[in-house]
Symmetry: C2
Subunit: 206 residues, 2 copies
DNA sequence: AGTATAATGTCACTGAATGACAAATGTCAA
DNA sequence: TTGACATTTGTCATTCAGTGACATTATACT
Protein backbone atom coordinates (compact mmCIF):
# COMPACT_ATOMS: atom_id res chain seq x y z
CA UNK A 1 0.00 0.00 0.00
CA UNK A 2 2.18 2.78 -1.24
CA UNK A 3 -0.07 5.10 -3.14
CA UNK A 4 -0.33 8.78 -2.94
CA UNK A 5 -2.62 9.64 -0.08
CA UNK A 6 -5.67 10.42 -2.15
CA UNK A 7 -4.78 14.02 -2.25
CA UNK A 8 -5.88 15.52 1.02
CA UNK A 9 -6.89 19.13 0.92
CA UNK A 10 -9.68 19.08 3.41
CA UNK A 11 -8.07 22.45 4.17
CA UNK A 12 -8.49 24.34 0.92
CA UNK A 13 -5.99 27.13 0.86
CA UNK A 14 -2.43 27.34 -0.37
CA UNK A 15 -2.83 25.08 -3.41
CA UNK A 16 0.44 24.81 -5.16
CA UNK A 17 0.87 24.57 -8.89
CA UNK A 18 2.48 21.24 -8.15
CA UNK A 19 -0.46 20.07 -6.13
CA UNK A 20 -2.93 21.26 -8.71
CA UNK A 21 -1.05 19.32 -11.35
CA UNK A 22 -1.02 16.21 -9.21
CA UNK A 23 -4.73 16.50 -8.66
CA UNK A 24 -5.29 16.92 -12.37
CA UNK A 25 -3.06 13.99 -13.21
CA UNK A 26 -4.82 11.71 -10.74
CA UNK A 27 -8.22 12.77 -11.99
CA UNK A 28 -7.14 12.34 -15.58
CA UNK A 29 -5.86 8.84 -14.95
CA UNK A 30 -9.01 7.85 -13.13
CA UNK A 31 -11.23 9.24 -15.85
CA UNK A 32 -9.29 7.65 -18.69
CA UNK A 33 -9.02 4.34 -16.90
CA UNK A 34 -12.74 4.13 -16.15
CA UNK A 35 -13.56 5.05 -19.73
CA UNK A 36 -11.24 2.37 -21.09
CA UNK A 37 -12.44 -0.23 -18.60
CA UNK A 38 -15.97 0.30 -19.81
CA UNK A 39 -14.99 0.35 -23.46
CA UNK A 40 -12.68 -2.63 -23.57
CA UNK A 41 -13.12 -4.34 -20.23
CA UNK A 42 -10.89 -4.20 -17.18
CA UNK A 43 -8.57 -7.04 -18.07
CA UNK A 44 -8.29 -6.02 -21.70
CA UNK A 45 -7.05 -2.60 -20.65
CA UNK A 46 -3.34 -2.48 -19.95
CA UNK A 47 -1.46 0.07 -17.90
CA UNK A 48 0.17 1.04 -21.17
CA UNK A 49 -3.25 1.85 -22.63
CA UNK A 50 -4.09 4.07 -19.71
CA UNK A 51 -0.71 5.74 -19.74
CA UNK A 52 -1.04 6.41 -23.47
CA UNK A 53 -4.49 7.90 -22.99
CA UNK A 54 -3.11 10.52 -20.62
CA UNK A 55 0.34 10.76 -22.24
CA UNK A 56 2.48 9.71 -19.39
CA UNK A 57 4.88 6.90 -18.77
CA UNK A 58 3.51 3.67 -17.28
CA UNK A 59 5.96 4.14 -14.44
CA UNK A 60 4.21 7.34 -13.47
CA UNK A 61 0.85 5.65 -13.36
CA UNK A 62 2.16 3.63 -10.44
CA UNK A 63 3.16 6.78 -8.64
CA UNK A 64 -0.51 7.72 -8.48
CA UNK A 65 -2.07 4.31 -7.99
CA UNK A 66 -0.36 1.38 -6.32
CA UNK A 67 -2.07 -0.97 -8.73
CA UNK A 68 -4.55 -1.15 -11.55
CA UNK A 69 -7.13 -2.26 -9.04
CA UNK A 70 -6.74 0.77 -6.85
CA UNK A 71 -8.15 3.02 -9.53
CA UNK A 72 -11.41 1.25 -8.84
CA UNK A 73 -11.29 0.70 -5.11
CA UNK A 74 -9.86 4.05 -4.04
CA UNK A 75 -13.29 5.63 -3.75
CA UNK A 76 -14.58 2.97 -1.40
CA UNK A 77 -11.45 3.11 0.73
CA UNK A 78 -11.80 6.83 1.09
CA UNK A 79 -15.44 6.70 2.13
CA UNK A 80 -14.92 3.85 4.57
CA UNK A 81 -11.96 5.61 6.17
CA UNK A 82 -14.01 8.75 6.56
CA UNK A 83 -16.73 6.68 8.17
CA UNK A 84 -14.36 5.34 10.77
CA UNK A 85 -13.11 8.82 11.46
CA UNK A 86 -16.61 10.11 12.19
CA UNK A 87 -17.14 7.24 14.58
CA UNK A 88 -13.92 7.91 16.44
CA UNK A 89 -14.79 11.58 16.85
CA UNK A 90 -18.39 10.98 17.93
CA UNK A 91 -19.63 11.09 21.50
CA UNK A 92 -19.99 7.92 23.54
CA UNK A 93 -23.36 6.28 23.78
CA UNK A 94 -24.73 3.51 25.88
CA UNK A 95 -26.09 1.51 22.96
CA UNK A 96 -23.89 0.19 20.19
CA UNK A 97 -26.94 0.40 17.94
CA UNK A 98 -27.03 4.15 18.24
CA UNK A 99 -23.39 4.44 17.23
CA UNK A 100 -23.70 1.96 14.42
CA UNK A 101 -26.86 3.50 13.01
CA UNK A 102 -25.02 6.76 12.86
CA UNK A 103 -21.90 5.47 11.11
CA UNK A 104 -23.73 3.33 8.63
CA UNK A 105 -26.18 6.13 7.97
CA UNK A 106 -23.23 8.38 7.27
CA UNK A 107 -21.70 5.80 4.96
CA UNK A 108 -24.92 5.31 3.04
CA UNK A 109 -25.15 9.06 2.63
CA UNK A 110 -21.66 9.27 1.23
CA UNK A 111 -22.25 6.41 -1.18
CA UNK A 112 -25.46 8.05 -2.25
CA UNK A 113 -23.57 11.17 -3.24
CA UNK A 114 -21.35 9.08 -5.48
CA UNK A 115 -24.02 7.13 -7.27
CA UNK A 116 -22.90 7.53 -10.88
CA UNK A 117 -19.32 6.98 -9.86
CA UNK A 118 -20.25 3.80 -8.07
CA UNK A 119 -22.54 2.63 -10.81
CA UNK A 120 -19.70 2.55 -13.31
CA UNK A 121 -17.47 0.68 -10.89
CA UNK A 122 -20.20 -1.77 -10.11
CA UNK A 123 -20.72 -2.50 -13.79
CA UNK A 124 -17.05 -3.33 -14.12
CA UNK A 125 -17.05 -5.42 -10.96
CA UNK A 126 -19.91 -7.54 -12.27
CA UNK A 127 -17.81 -8.56 -15.26
CA UNK A 128 -14.64 -9.08 -13.25
CA UNK A 129 -14.69 -11.38 -10.21
CA UNK A 130 -11.33 -10.16 -8.94
CA UNK A 131 -12.79 -6.66 -8.74
CA UNK A 132 -15.94 -7.82 -7.00
CA UNK A 133 -13.68 -9.49 -4.46
CA UNK A 134 -11.75 -6.27 -4.08
CA UNK A 135 -14.84 -4.19 -3.35
CA UNK A 136 -16.11 -6.65 -0.84
CA UNK A 137 -12.81 -6.51 0.94
CA UNK A 138 -12.70 -2.73 0.88
CA UNK A 139 -15.97 -2.78 2.81
CA UNK A 140 -15.34 -5.63 5.20
CA UNK A 141 -11.77 -4.84 6.08
CA UNK A 142 -13.04 -1.86 8.04
CA UNK A 143 -15.03 -4.05 10.41
CA UNK A 144 -12.25 -4.48 12.98
CA UNK A 145 -11.73 -0.72 13.21
CA UNK A 146 -15.44 -0.06 13.57
CA UNK A 147 -15.66 -2.78 16.17
CA UNK A 148 -12.77 -1.30 18.07
CA UNK A 149 -14.26 2.18 18.00
CA UNK A 150 -17.66 0.99 19.14
CA UNK A 151 -16.27 -1.09 21.99
CA UNK A 152 -14.04 1.70 23.23
CA UNK A 153 -16.97 4.06 23.62
CA UNK A 154 -19.09 1.65 25.61
CA UNK A 155 -18.99 2.12 29.36
CA UNK A 156 -20.38 -1.28 30.31
CA UNK A 157 -17.93 -3.67 28.68
CA UNK A 158 -19.77 -5.93 26.28
CA UNK A 159 -18.66 -9.21 24.85
CA UNK A 160 -16.29 -8.38 22.00
CA UNK A 161 -17.56 -11.21 19.83
CA UNK A 162 -21.14 -10.13 20.23
CA UNK A 163 -20.15 -6.70 18.92
CA UNK A 164 -18.22 -8.26 16.09
CA UNK A 165 -21.30 -10.04 14.89
CA UNK A 166 -23.38 -6.94 15.30
CA UNK A 167 -21.00 -4.92 13.14
CA UNK A 168 -20.97 -7.72 10.59
CA UNK A 169 -24.77 -7.59 10.42
CA UNK A 170 -24.77 -3.85 9.86
CA UNK A 171 -22.18 -4.37 7.16
CA UNK A 172 -24.34 -7.05 5.59
CA UNK A 173 -27.21 -4.59 5.52
CA UNK A 174 -25.06 -1.94 3.86
CA UNK A 175 -23.71 -4.40 1.36
CA UNK A 176 -27.09 -5.78 0.38
CA UNK A 177 -28.56 -2.30 0.19
CA UNK A 178 -25.77 -1.15 -2.08
CA UNK A 179 -26.26 -4.09 -4.39
CA UNK A 180 -29.98 -3.61 -4.52
CA UNK A 181 -29.53 0.10 -5.09
CA UNK A 182 -27.01 -0.29 -7.90
CA UNK A 183 -28.93 -3.00 -9.63
CA UNK A 184 -30.97 -0.64 -11.72
CA UNK A 185 -29.82 2.59 -13.22
CA UNK A 186 -32.76 4.62 -11.89
CA UNK A 187 -31.94 5.10 -8.27
CA UNK A 188 -34.12 4.84 -5.24
CA UNK A 189 -32.98 6.07 -1.90
CA UNK A 190 -30.05 4.14 -0.49
CA UNK A 191 -30.34 5.49 3.03
CA UNK A 192 -33.93 4.44 3.47
CA UNK A 193 -33.14 1.11 1.85
CA UNK A 194 -30.50 0.55 4.46
CA UNK A 195 -32.82 1.53 7.28
CA UNK A 196 -35.54 -0.77 6.08
CA UNK A 197 -33.13 -3.68 6.33
CA UNK A 198 -31.85 -2.61 9.70
CA UNK A 199 -35.37 -2.33 11.05
CA UNK A 200 -35.84 -6.06 10.60
CA UNK A 201 -33.08 -6.47 13.06
CA UNK A 202 -32.46 -3.87 15.68
CA UNK A 203 -35.88 -3.62 17.32
CA UNK A 204 -35.05 -6.18 20.02
CA UNK A 205 -31.32 -6.47 20.78
CA UNK A 206 -29.91 -3.26 22.22
CA UNK B 1 -11.90 -20.32 -13.75
CA UNK B 2 -10.23 -23.07 -15.64
CA UNK B 3 -8.80 -25.38 -13.08
CA UNK B 4 -9.06 -29.05 -12.87
CA UNK B 5 -12.34 -29.92 -11.21
CA UNK B 6 -10.90 -30.69 -7.80
CA UNK B 7 -10.70 -34.31 -8.62
CA UNK B 8 -14.17 -35.74 -8.16
CA UNK B 9 -14.33 -39.34 -7.05
CA UNK B 10 -17.28 -39.24 -4.79
CA UNK B 11 -17.76 -42.64 -6.44
CA UNK B 12 -14.67 -44.59 -5.48
CA UNK B 13 -14.22 -47.35 -8.00
CA UNK B 14 -12.27 -47.62 -11.22
CA UNK B 15 -9.35 -45.41 -10.28
CA UNK B 16 -6.94 -45.22 -13.13
CA UNK B 17 -3.20 -45.03 -12.82
CA UNK B 18 -3.57 -41.68 -14.55
CA UNK B 19 -6.11 -40.45 -12.09
CA UNK B 20 -4.13 -41.64 -9.14
CA UNK B 21 -1.12 -39.76 -10.45
CA UNK B 22 -3.16 -36.63 -10.92
CA UNK B 23 -4.46 -36.85 -7.40
CA UNK B 24 -0.98 -37.35 -6.08
CA UNK B 25 0.37 -34.47 -8.11
CA UNK B 26 -2.36 -32.13 -6.90
CA UNK B 27 -1.88 -33.18 -3.30
CA UNK B 28 1.87 -32.83 -3.61
CA UNK B 29 1.60 -29.34 -5.02
CA UNK B 30 -0.81 -28.26 -2.32
CA UNK B 31 1.34 -29.68 0.43
CA UNK B 32 4.56 -28.18 -0.87
CA UNK B 33 2.95 -24.84 -1.54
CA UNK B 34 1.45 -24.55 1.94
CA UNK B 35 4.74 -25.52 3.50
CA UNK B 36 6.62 -22.92 1.49
CA UNK B 37 4.00 -20.25 2.12
CA UNK B 38 4.42 -20.75 5.82
CA UNK B 39 8.19 -20.90 5.66
CA UNK B 40 8.88 -17.95 3.39
CA UNK B 41 5.56 -16.14 3.07
CA UNK B 42 3.04 -16.27 0.26
CA UNK B 43 4.47 -13.51 -1.86
CA UNK B 44 8.04 -14.59 -1.34
CA UNK B 45 7.20 -18.00 -2.73
CA UNK B 46 7.30 -18.15 -6.51
CA UNK B 47 5.63 -20.69 -8.74
CA UNK B 48 9.14 -21.75 -9.65
CA UNK B 49 9.83 -22.54 -6.00
CA UNK B 50 6.73 -24.69 -5.76
CA UNK B 51 7.45 -26.41 -9.05
CA UNK B 52 10.99 -27.15 -7.93
CA UNK B 53 9.77 -28.58 -4.65
CA UNK B 54 7.68 -31.17 -6.49
CA UNK B 55 10.01 -31.49 -9.50
CA UNK B 56 7.66 -30.41 -12.22
CA UNK B 57 7.64 -27.60 -14.72
CA UNK B 58 5.97 -24.33 -13.72
CA UNK B 59 3.69 -24.77 -16.70
CA UNK B 60 2.30 -27.92 -15.19
CA UNK B 61 1.53 -26.17 -11.92
CA UNK B 62 -0.99 -24.10 -13.83
CA UNK B 63 -2.61 -27.22 -15.16
CA UNK B 64 -3.58 -28.14 -11.61
CA UNK B 65 -4.30 -24.70 -10.21
CA UNK B 66 -5.52 -21.77 -12.25
CA UNK B 67 -3.46 -19.44 -10.11
CA UNK B 68 -1.22 -19.30 -7.11
CA UNK B 69 -4.19 -18.09 -5.11
CA UNK B 70 -6.31 -21.10 -5.91
CA UNK B 71 -4.03 -23.37 -3.96
CA UNK B 72 -5.33 -21.55 -0.93
CA UNK B 73 -8.96 -20.93 -1.82
CA UNK B 74 -9.76 -24.29 -3.41
CA UNK B 75 -10.80 -25.83 -0.11
CA UNK B 76 -13.32 -23.11 0.63
CA UNK B 77 -14.73 -23.26 -2.87
CA UNK B 78 -15.24 -26.97 -2.57
CA UNK B 79 -17.01 -26.77 0.77
CA UNK B 80 -19.24 -23.89 -0.29
CA UNK B 81 -20.22 -25.67 -3.49
CA UNK B 82 -21.08 -28.78 -1.53
CA UNK B 83 -23.19 -26.65 0.77
CA UNK B 84 -25.19 -25.31 -2.12
CA UNK B 85 -25.67 -28.81 -3.43
CA UNK B 86 -27.14 -30.03 -0.15
CA UNK B 87 -29.54 -27.11 -0.19
CA UNK B 88 -30.69 -27.83 -3.70
CA UNK B 89 -31.35 -31.47 -2.89
CA UNK B 90 -33.14 -30.78 0.38
CA UNK B 91 -36.91 -30.83 0.87
CA UNK B 92 -38.94 -27.63 0.72
CA UNK B 93 -39.84 -25.91 3.93
CA UNK B 94 -42.15 -23.09 4.81
CA UNK B 95 -39.54 -21.12 6.70
CA UNK B 96 -36.33 -19.86 5.13
CA UNK B 97 -34.78 -20.05 8.58
CA UNK B 98 -35.15 -23.79 8.66
CA UNK B 99 -33.40 -24.18 5.34
CA UNK B 100 -30.68 -21.71 6.21
CA UNK B 101 -29.98 -23.22 9.60
CA UNK B 102 -29.52 -26.52 7.89
CA UNK B 103 -27.12 -25.31 5.19
CA UNK B 104 -25.04 -23.18 7.48
CA UNK B 105 -24.99 -25.93 10.03
CA UNK B 106 -23.71 -28.24 7.33
CA UNK B 107 -21.07 -25.72 6.30
CA UNK B 108 -19.88 -25.21 9.84
CA UNK B 109 -19.61 -28.95 10.20
CA UNK B 110 -17.49 -29.23 7.08
CA UNK B 111 -15.21 -26.42 8.14
CA UNK B 112 -14.86 -28.03 11.52
CA UNK B 113 -13.57 -31.20 9.92
CA UNK B 114 -10.87 -29.19 8.19
CA UNK B 115 -9.65 -27.23 11.14
CA UNK B 116 -5.90 -27.71 10.81
CA UNK B 117 -6.11 -27.19 7.08
CA UNK B 118 -8.01 -23.96 7.58
CA UNK B 119 -5.80 -22.81 10.39
CA UNK B 120 -2.75 -22.82 8.14
CA UNK B 121 -4.60 -20.94 5.43
CA UNK B 122 -5.89 -18.43 7.91
CA UNK B 123 -2.39 -17.76 9.19
CA UNK B 124 -1.27 -16.99 5.66
CA UNK B 125 -4.32 -14.84 4.96
CA UNK B 126 -3.63 -12.69 7.99
CA UNK B 127 -0.24 -11.75 6.58
CA UNK B 128 -1.52 -11.25 3.05
CA UNK B 129 -4.47 -8.90 2.42
CA UNK B 130 -5.02 -10.14 -1.11
CA UNK B 131 -5.59 -13.62 0.31
CA UNK B 132 -7.95 -12.37 3.00
CA UNK B 133 -9.90 -10.71 0.23
CA UNK B 134 -9.94 -13.95 -1.69
CA UNK B 135 -11.31 -15.98 1.21
CA UNK B 136 -14.00 -13.45 1.87
CA UNK B 137 -15.07 -13.61 -1.71
CA UNK B 138 -15.03 -17.41 -1.75
CA UNK B 139 -17.61 -17.28 1.03
CA UNK B 140 -19.76 -14.41 -0.13
CA UNK B 141 -19.89 -15.25 -3.80
CA UNK B 142 -22.11 -18.17 -2.93
CA UNK B 143 -24.82 -15.93 -1.51
CA UNK B 144 -26.73 -15.52 -4.77
CA UNK B 145 -26.92 -19.27 -5.29
CA UNK B 146 -28.06 -19.87 -1.72
CA UNK B 147 -30.59 -17.10 -2.10
CA UNK B 148 -31.86 -18.62 -5.30
CA UNK B 149 -32.17 -22.07 -3.79
CA UNK B 150 -33.99 -20.80 -0.73
CA UNK B 151 -36.44 -18.72 -2.73
CA UNK B 152 -37.25 -21.53 -5.11
CA UNK B 153 -38.27 -23.85 -2.27
CA UNK B 154 -40.62 -21.33 -0.67
CA UNK B 155 -44.26 -21.77 -1.53
CA UNK B 156 -45.45 -18.35 -0.43
CA UNK B 157 -43.30 -16.03 -2.53
CA UNK B 158 -41.29 -13.77 -0.27
CA UNK B 159 -39.61 -10.52 -1.08
CA UNK B 160 -36.32 -11.42 -2.78
CA UNK B 161 -34.44 -8.60 -1.14
CA UNK B 162 -35.59 -9.62 2.29
CA UNK B 163 -34.16 -13.07 1.66
CA UNK B 164 -30.95 -11.59 0.36
CA UNK B 165 -30.42 -9.77 3.58
CA UNK B 166 -31.31 -12.83 5.57
CA UNK B 167 -28.73 -14.92 3.74
CA UNK B 168 -26.18 -12.16 4.22
CA UNK B 169 -26.82 -12.21 7.95
CA UNK B 170 -26.34 -15.96 8.13
CA UNK B 171 -23.15 -15.53 6.16
CA UNK B 172 -22.02 -12.84 8.56
CA UNK B 173 -22.60 -15.25 11.43
CA UNK B 174 -20.57 -17.95 9.71
CA UNK B 175 -17.81 -15.54 8.88
CA UNK B 176 -17.52 -14.13 12.37
CA UNK B 177 -17.72 -17.58 13.90
CA UNK B 178 -14.93 -18.82 11.65
CA UNK B 179 -12.72 -15.91 12.57
CA UNK B 180 -13.38 -16.34 16.26
CA UNK B 181 -12.80 -20.05 15.97
CA UNK B 182 -9.51 -19.75 14.10
CA UNK B 183 -8.17 -17.02 16.30
CA UNK B 184 -6.60 -19.40 18.77
CA UNK B 185 -4.98 -22.68 18.00
CA UNK B 186 -6.90 -24.63 20.62
CA UNK B 187 -10.30 -25.04 19.09
CA UNK B 188 -13.72 -24.74 20.58
CA UNK B 189 -16.79 -25.93 18.77
CA UNK B 190 -17.50 -24.02 15.58
CA UNK B 191 -21.02 -25.31 15.14
CA UNK B 192 -22.19 -24.18 18.55
CA UNK B 193 -20.37 -20.89 18.09
CA UNK B 194 -22.36 -20.33 14.92
CA UNK B 195 -25.62 -21.23 16.60
CA UNK B 196 -24.98 -18.92 19.50
CA UNK B 197 -24.65 -16.03 17.04
CA UNK B 198 -27.69 -17.08 15.09
CA UNK B 199 -29.76 -17.29 18.24
CA UNK B 200 -29.37 -13.54 18.75
CA UNK B 201 -31.17 -13.16 15.52
CA UNK B 202 -33.64 -15.71 14.38
CA UNK B 203 -35.96 -15.89 17.40
CA UNK B 204 -38.35 -13.30 16.01
CA UNK B 205 -38.31 -13.05 12.18
CA UNK B 206 -39.50 -16.24 10.56
C1' DA C 1 19.14 34.06 -11.11
C1' DG C 2 20.48 29.86 -8.90
C1' DT C 3 19.97 26.11 -5.83
C1' DA C 4 17.19 22.73 -3.41
C1' DT C 5 13.19 19.69 -3.96
C1' DA C 6 9.91 16.98 -6.02
C1' DA C 7 7.92 14.81 -10.23
C1' DT C 8 8.68 12.35 -14.36
C1' DG C 9 10.90 9.37 -17.76
C1' DT C 10 13.98 5.58 -19.04
C1' DC C 11 15.84 1.19 -18.45
C1' DA C 12 16.29 -3.19 -16.64
C1' DC C 13 14.34 -6.79 -14.11
C1' DT C 14 11.20 -10.24 -11.54
C1' DG C 15 7.21 -13.02 -11.54
C1' DA C 16 2.46 -14.53 -12.89
C1' DA C 17 -0.08 -16.36 -16.48
C1' DT C 18 -1.10 -18.24 -21.22
C1' DG C 19 -0.75 -20.21 -26.03
C1' DA C 20 1.50 -23.42 -29.18
C1' DC C 21 3.71 -27.38 -30.10
C1' DA C 22 6.75 -31.26 -29.26
C1' DA C 23 7.99 -35.17 -26.17
C1' DA C 24 6.70 -38.51 -22.93
C1' DT C 25 3.45 -41.43 -20.69
C1' DG C 26 -0.72 -44.13 -19.90
C1' DT C 27 -4.70 -46.83 -22.15
C1' DC C 28 -6.74 -50.34 -24.61
C1' DA C 29 -7.41 -53.74 -28.04
C1' DA C 30 -5.71 -57.06 -31.21
C1' DT D 1 3.85 -57.26 -26.60
C1' DT D 2 3.06 -54.13 -29.88
C1' DG D 3 1.10 -50.36 -31.92
C1' DA D 4 -2.49 -46.69 -32.39
C1' DC D 5 -4.71 -43.31 -29.68
C1' DA D 6 -5.54 -40.03 -25.92
C1' DT D 7 -3.78 -37.49 -22.21
C1' DT D 8 -0.31 -35.34 -19.62
C1' DT D 9 3.92 -32.96 -19.31
C1' DG D 10 7.87 -30.05 -20.77
C1' DT D 11 9.84 -26.36 -23.54
C1' DC D 12 9.74 -22.02 -25.55
C1' DA D 13 8.08 -17.56 -26.43
C1' DT D 14 5.21 -13.90 -25.14
C1' DT D 15 2.28 -10.50 -22.56
C1' DC D 16 1.51 -7.82 -18.74
C1' DA D 17 1.77 -6.00 -13.74
C1' DG D 18 4.74 -4.12 -10.66
C1' DT D 19 9.38 -2.31 -8.72
C1' DG D 20 14.09 -0.37 -8.01
C1' DA D 21 17.74 2.73 -9.67
C1' DC D 22 19.10 6.62 -11.71
C1' DA D 23 19.07 10.44 -15.02
C1' DT D 24 16.19 14.37 -16.51
C1' DT D 25 12.98 17.95 -16.07
C1' DA D 26 9.80 20.98 -13.78
C1' DT D 27 8.52 23.60 -9.69
C1' DA D 28 9.63 26.15 -5.37
C1' DC D 29 12.10 29.21 -2.54
C1' DT D 30 15.50 32.92 -1.34
Amino acid sequence: MNTIKFLPNGDTQPENLRERKKRQAQAAIEEAALRLFRQKGYEQTSIQDIADAVTMSPRTFFRYFASKEEVLSGLIHTIQSDGIRTLVHAASTASPHTALREVFGYLAGRYQEQRSNLYIRHQIAMQTPSIASLFLYALLETEPAICEAVCSRLEPARDRNEIRFLVAVYMAALRVSLEEWLEYEDSRDLVSLLHSHLDCFSTDTN
